[in-house]
Symmetry: C2
Subunit: 145 residues, 2 copies
């Protein structure tokens, strides 16, 4: 893969910095614009989208689709493989993404390939559900009724 880095610009740093300060979270284009505004730098939205595209092609970040399907959001990649070697669990409620390093999941992968003749694209597959914190919150909300 050919990383065609050309120029090093302040806007690119600013976007990456924004991800660093919000590590573990996935941000929409709007989130990033808002975050940068509070820090005094105003970046055109076209630039934000182009920068995100660029960083995604570089493998620095990964793109997800928000549940409502109306917005894209991005997140820093994890690990040397750039998140292509494990599955992701995404919480419906809070949006947190967990990187699933799991032996059984790898087995399922092989099983589906061998028995169901379907080659899975791990990087593209996301498990949706509820994370631990949001389960607890849901329970206490039930009790409050």
């Amino acid at each position: 893969m050919n990383s065609t880095i050309t120029y090093h610009t302040g806007q690119r740093d600013a976007v990456l910095d924004c991800f660093s300060r919000n590590s573990g979270k996935q941000l929409t284009a709007g989130d990033i614009a808002a975050d940068l505004l509070t820090r005094g730098s105003r970046i055109g939205n076209a630039t934000i989208y182009r920068t995100l595209d660029y960083l995604e092609k570089e493998g620095r970040i990964r793109k997800f689709i928000d549940e409502n399907g109306r917005q894209a959001c991005w997140q820093l990649t994890v690990g040397s493989e750039g998140c292509s070697d494990h599955y992701h669990l995404k919480c419906h409620k809070c949006g947190t993404v967990v990187h699933l390093e799991c032996e059984l999941a790898a087995q399922l992968d092989e099983h589906i390939q061998a028995e169901h003749h379907f080659v899975i694209d791990r990087a593209a597959t996301i498990f949706y559900g509820l994370c631990e914190a949001c389960q607890a919150a849901a329970v206490s909300r039930e009790e409050a009724k």
Copy 2:
């Protein structure tokens, strides 16, 4: 569940019929409009969206988000549980969706809940990859080079 069926209209039949003739596929609102056009019936797009919402609430179809995240697509539900009891495999290339009835997948489910403290929403989770037919096609295309 309270099925508030009120009127029985030709447009509703037409949309459902469209799903029947494309069983196993996921259709976007645009797909449906185009398909109906070729059959001579023209339906306003607002009606299509409202009909899809209605059918979804009835549990007849399920809504998914297309990989690119720009479009919603819908598919006939399968089984008495309405597709909530199994995973789905979707082919990146041809778009076909396979309903995965698999013991190992169910085990993974329990494992993730027990060990990773994450409750998976099977109905919302889709495995992406390549189906058998498209794998074969990819191979023969390689050989043709």
